[in-house]
């Protein structure tokens, strides 16, 4: 950092074109350690006025840590931050806000039962002020929303808005507080392709007005689409910076992963067999759109059906229904000609392999050791426990540990060993453990393994690094080729199109007709995700 900083700009003057090359934010040598882990290793970055800087990296690359430091949630061990030429005091979110830094989190921080205006005003007025100055605030909100082309109804309740509209409120909230630097954390993760396009247009409008944006993502296409400059983080280090116009997706992927990556190649189903699982006009319990409302679907052996949709449209209900943790209130669910048993303990022995959406909160019990998590689904089977005269089932620890060791080996689960808590596994290794225990039935008395008949995978690669994504997808394809019926539910359109032999779209608790993956275009899926049935 030997260069002289440019003359300090005035934060007020950001609107004119002459400020295009002015540095509004400067991170110098930011280092942050968590124990032995170096989350950020001497990262130096600059952000210019009127540009979109994309921050690209896999999960765990240090993007979130860096932004948490910038926003004052964490304190850096080394390094300093300057905003508009002024040093930013570390560990102080209020100072970051006052300096004009606004953050739009991936998971919204809005109160559903309050209006848009209430949410935007929240926290901006002093407690001892006797009356809330709503009309002035409304005028200001209107002014901000017009200036940046973000129309909202100020009196609408947040709970009535769509996800895209809620995100708009989050952005307005930051702008209302005078943000001149906006950090967007994975903003397209919750949007339909059409909503994402609208967001990109909005961002273009905002930078034209002199705002600066840090756009966090791991999707290469949209990074090139939206940003002027790309900074790539890997393993806590800033490994590359490039102008978006001068780079390619392949080059970015190489930087992000550190080695060349082959995408999972589509391999169509070879032979589709009999129906394994049949849902007939199923309705489930659940509130809002988080339920099934008359879903009909047939899953056949040797075929992957992939379900696309904006999250919160019934995917959770579908996954939980087939995982045995939610009940159907109407319609029928058949598994190999018999009613689907409504409990996980009875589903698993019938050959249902389940990969839940949230591996930390549902997939494993983090405080218990790896080996107990490996057998948790089958602990009640004679292979791993037996009745004692006292009426308690005694765990066959040796058999259980041996099985866990086989899963660990076969699925390459790397961690601190079978006795360490499952919480200590990285996301990818945790997912391999869940995948392994689901797909690998224990040997029966005659040494045979029963392969799974039905696989229910909900967001199976969410948050994994590219290497682990490819591994999980290949395992699902291999299980399909071995004759399993596979249901993949994913928010990631690329994954749906890469894995699905047939693809269907969920919206509002309804499931569209599954069609061959080749019959879909991205645009058609996007429209269906927004609720417009394809003609």
């Amino acid at each position: 950092m030997g260069r002289e900083p440019p003359s300090p700009p005035s934060p007020k003057g950001g609107r004119c074109k002459t400020f295009m090359t002015q540095t509004v934010l400067r991170l110098q040598g930011i280092t942050k350690r968590f124990g032995a882990l170096v989350a950020n290793d001497a990262i130096s970055l600059e952000l210019q006025a009127g540009e979109v800087l994309a921050l690209l990296g896999e999960n765990g690359a240090g993007k979130s840590t860096l932004m948490s430091i910038l926003f004052g949630h964490y304190t850096a061990d080394e390094g300093r931050i300057e905003a508009f030429g002024q040093a930013l005091p570390p560990g102080n979110p209020k100072a970051a806000l006052a300096a004009g830094i606004g953050m739009v989190h991936q998971h919204f921080t809005l109160a559903d039962n309050l209006s848009v205006l209430d949410n935007v005003m929240m926290g901006t007025e002093p407690l001892w002020q006797p009356f809330s100055r709503r009309s002035a605030a409304r005028a200001r909100l209107l002014e901000v929303s017009q200036r940046f082309g973000l129309p909202v109804q100020s009196e609408a309740k947040i709970g009535e808005l769509s996800v895209g509209e809620r995100q708009r409120v989050e952005i307005l909230k930051a702008l209302y507080r005078g943000a001149r630097i906006l950090i967007l954390d994975e903003p397209t993760a919750v949007l339909t392709p059409q909503e994402s396009e609208a967001l990109f247009d909005t961002l273009a409008q905002m930078v034209a007005q002199g705002l600066s944006i840090i756009f966090i993502s791991h999707k290469l296409g949209e990074v090139l689409r939206v940003s002027q400059r790309v900074a790539v983080l890997r393993g806590g280090k800033l490994v590359a910076q490039a102008r978006a116009a001068d780079t390619t997706q392949a080059e970015l992927a190489l930087w992000m992963v550190g080695h060349a990556v082959e995408k999972t190649a589509r391999r169509p189903a070879r032979s589709v067999g009999d129906a394994v699982c049949v849902l007939d006009h199923v309705r489930t319990t659940g509130s809002g759109h988080d339920r099934l409302d008359g879903v009909t679907l047939t899953l056949r052996a040797g075929e992957i059906v992939a379900i696309a949709g904006v999250s919160g449209n019934g995917q959770v209900a579908l996954a939980e229904l087939l995982s045995g943790t939610r009940r159907a209130v109407a319609g029928s669910v058949q598994l190999m000609g018999r009613a689907l048993p409504p409990s996980p303990a009875r589903l698993v022995p019938r050959g249902v392999a389940r990969i839940p959406e949230d591996r930390h909160a549902v997939g494993v019990i983090g405080d218990l050791p790896v080996w107990e998590n490996a057998v948790s689904e089958r602990l009640r089977s004679p292979a791993f426990s037996r009745w004692t005269p006292l009426g308690l089932r005694w765990v066959r620890r040796a058999a259980a540990r041996a099985y866990a060791a086989r899963v660990e080996k076969a699925y390459d689960v790397r961690g601190a060993g079978l006795s360490s808590p499952a919480r200590s596994l990285s996301g990818g290794n945790m997912q391999k453990l869940i995948l392994g225990r689901a797909l690998m039935a224990p040997e029966s008395a005659n040494g045979q393994r029963k392969p799974p008949r039905l696989i229910v995978a909900h967001q199976p690669t969410w948050g994994l690094d590219i290497g682990a994504v490819a591994y999980v997808q290949q395992q699902l394809i291999a299980a399909r080729d071995a004759g399993a019926a596979v249901l993949v539910i994913s928010d990631d359109l690329d994954e749906v199109l890469a894995l699905g032999d047939r693809v269907a779209v969920m919206h509002g608790g309804h499931l569209g007709e599954p069609r061959p993956a080749t019959a879909w275009t991205r645009e058609a899926i996007g429209l269906a995700m927004a609720g417009t049935e394809p003609s």
Partner: protein
């Protein structure tokens, strides 16, 4: 200052946490000793001597440890499954009352059954009484989301009033000259002495055996897995096929039964009657013991003996240097807070902001 989660907790820290907490507590309590005008060193030396300094001291400490180990186990089982049973005190009294109901000298003689039959019946009745008392709050929590801390705590007062009513009514001892105590237990139902000429009774064998039993359940049985899984992550447990409601019911029955047995064993081993002051808060002290033991069933034995020693030692220390015995309660209560902080620090580190 802020807390950051540690990536791994060292086993040494887990052992040092309760030791450090107790040491910190003694330092804090020393201020109170000074305030009372007594020399700190001599006070603590007397406390230690009174609790552990002689065969008599040990015998008194072990006698006191018996109900504490049992209520400590009751808290351990429940807390392991995140069922916060604050009602061990009430369950203890319910167990004691049930023991007298079965084995008391009603009408001067009691039920004319062989002690070989009556003794197991008495223990069973006490366990069932304690278990049923916790079943309601556990089901209300599981089905309706009612906070079990509130319900179990309030039931303690109801039980105490019910005991009071029984001691002045149907179970009143006619020979006690108006003193509120129950009829006595039949003599041949009383527990034998473990060491002659002392008050240590075979209840100690019961307490230690039950601790080993709980430890084995935790470690070697599917029920133990279910209890630990439900406590650590109920959603994950349900996904893995653990019957969550049934597990909560089992935990409630087991925890309540242990506290109920504490009451019966106190009556059969020490008091022979139910009185309204037979438990100086054993149920609540059990929570401290469970936390000091890090919810480890075998650790409960050590923690129970330690707390009992402090309580017993405080009595003789008080007579010698005039520091009120309440110092023992302060030490026990402060050590709970200290051990909670120490446990937190094994999982989180403090960073300066």
């Amino acid at each position: 200052m802020r807390l950051e989660r540690r990536h791994r907790t060292s086993p040494l820290a887990l052992v040092l946490a309760p030791v450090g907490a107790v040491a910190f507590t003694l330092v804090v309590s020393a201020l109170l000793v000074l305030w009372a005008g007594a020399p700190v060193g001599r006070t603590y030396a007397l406390l230690l001597q009174g609790g552990f300094g002689s065969v008599f001291a040990w015998s008194e400490t072990l006698t006191r440890a018996i109900p504490l180990i049992l209520t400590g186990l009751a808290a351990t089982v429940a807390f392991k499954a995140r069922l916060f049973n604050i009602g061990a005190e009430g369950q203890l009294y319910a167990g004691a009352l049930a023991a007298i109901a079965v084995g008391g000298m009603h009408g001067g003689t009691g039920f004319a059954l062989s002690p070989w039959l009556l003794f197991p019946l008495m223990m069973l009745a006490a366990a069932v009484a304690g278990a049923l008392l916790l079943l309601g709050p556990a089901l209300m929590k599981n089905r309706l989301g009612v906070d079990e801390v509130v319900t179990t705590l309030l039931i303690n007062f109801i039980v105490l009033l019910a005991v009071s009513a029984m001691l002045d009514g149907p179970m009143k001892d006619p020979t006690a000259m108006g003193w509120p105590q129950s009829v006595a237990l039949q003599g041949d139902l009383e527990l034998g002495k473990l060491i002659p000429q002392t008050r240590v009774h075979t209840g100690l064998v019961w307490a230690v055996s039950l601790a080993v039993m709980v430890w084995a359940i935790f470690k070697y049985t599917v029920l133990g897995f279910d209890i630990r899984a439900v406590g650590a992550n109920a959603r994950g447990a349900a996904f893995a096929g653990v019957p969550v409601t049934r597990t909560v019911v089992m935990v409630a029955l087991l925890s309540g039964a242990l506290a109920g047995l504490a009451g019966a064993i106190e009556v059969a081993g020490r008091t022979s009657y139910v009185t309204l002051d037979m438990s100086p808060g054993y149920g609540y002290t059990g929570i401290v013991i469970a936390m000091l033991a890090g919810l480890h069933p075998l650790g409960v034995i050590a923690a129970g003996v330690f707390v009992a020693g402090v309580l017993v030692g405080a009595d003789s220390m008080s007579r010698a240097v005039g520091v009120p015995t309440y110092i023992a309660d302060v030490i026990v209560a402060a050590s709970l807070i200290a051990v909670l902080v120490a446990t937190l620090l094994t999982q989180y580190r403090v960073r300066r902001a």
